[in-house]
Amino acid sequence: MEFSNYLSITDILVTNERIPCKFLHDLPKMGFLDPSAADDDLKAGTNAEIPIWLAESLYTRRPPLVNVELPKTYKDSYREILNADACTVDLHKLGQHFYELGCYVAKHDIKGEVGSTLINTLRQRFRMLLSASVATDSISAMQPLSASERLQAAAAARTERNLASWLQRGDCPLTTANMVANHRKRKRAEMEMF
């Protein structure tokens, strides 16, 4: 789960996610942020959904221009489901980047319960990753996993496959090591550049 990195695609996608915000001040000429507004100006007290990157910068201003609210998937009702049994939830449908988005949302949660819900969810759903890595029907096992969980499960499945093939094979065929193969390609790429 590589996030909070300037070049991370996941992070860019996550920060583009829209979250509900309440504007605390009148903002002239910013009416376009609220698609339902008829005016050019944005009134104080308007509720609108804006991307996280915008919400973050508006929130960190002194005084803050917006008040960030929790998206519905992180609210009490959903949190109760997740805390009861996280394994029944299809995180892929609920939000592909559930954990990453949750980390951004967690700091705006006054009660601080989103963070513990995230950790709880991760702990409970580890069993799903384990079973997805050995499942024969990998497509249906992978289906309810979020994007980062899918990556982890796929990596685990790869190890599992390698181990199984090692155990079954009688002898070891000699092949080029990955490192060596990559090294040669890199050399050729370098030669072509100059």
């Binding site: 996030f3 601080g112 963070g115």
Partner: protein
């Protein structure tokens, strides 16, 4: 890491052979071995032993632990204990697979031994999986890897560290930004309750 890479590391272990030819000392990167005297037992690395065996130049002396009674004891112990027991050999699986694969006629009761070792491996692997799950559920911050062999550690490698990693990241993120309300499991607390994995 690929299992074959671990096999390569395991192939450096020294085992006993009885050569059927006579030759001077040989000088290898990993040391000098020999001189070879026909009929006299001597120690060589596993890979060399296998190579000589394939050319029918030697007989492999099975390691002490590759014995029916000893392995049955280990299996019982492994079944009884909640934790992992100490294996007779850091690369028991690699050694067993290579020796039994190439020189099964040199080992008495080869097929039974193969089954017992496979049983031990299966018991340990299922124990490893259940304790991994228990570790994550119980909220432990670290796991002890006592008596796990390299091949077994490798089998959990991308999954468990990645999960612990994302756990730590979420904990750091939600802790850093909300210093006022500490979460249920702060990191020092969860470190205390360790699981034996």
């Amino acid at each position: 890491m690929d299992p074959y890479e671990i096999e390569f590391i395991g192939e450096n272990r020294i085992i006993s052979i009885i050569p059927n030819f006579t030759y001077d000392k040989i000088y290898l990167i990993c040391g000098e071995f020999g001189p070879f005297r026909a009929g006299l037992p001597m120690n060589v690395p596993l890979w060399l032993a296998l190579m000589l065996k394939q050319k029918q130049k030697c007989r492999i002396v099975p390691p002490d632990w590759m014995d029916m009674d000893a392995l049955e004891n280990i299996k019982e112990e492994e079944k009884r204990s909640r934790f992992f027991t100490k294996m007779p050999n850091e690369h028991y699986m690699v050694e067993a697979k290579l020796i039994l694969g190439a020189a099964s006629e040199d080992v008495p009761n080869a097929s039974e031994i193969k089954t017992v070792i496979k049983d031990i491996w299966d018991i340990r692997m299922s124990k490893l999986r259940t304790s991994m799950d228990a570790l994550m559920k119980s909220g432990g911050g670290y796991g002890r890897l006592d008596h796990l062999t390299m091949m077994e550690i490798n089998s959990v490698k991308p999954l468990l560290p990645a999960a612990m990693d994302s756990l730590l990241r979420i904990q750091m993120k939600s802790k850093k930004t909300t210093p006022a309300n500490l979460n249920v499991s702060s990191f020092s607390q969860s470190g205390g309750s360790s699981q034996n994995i």
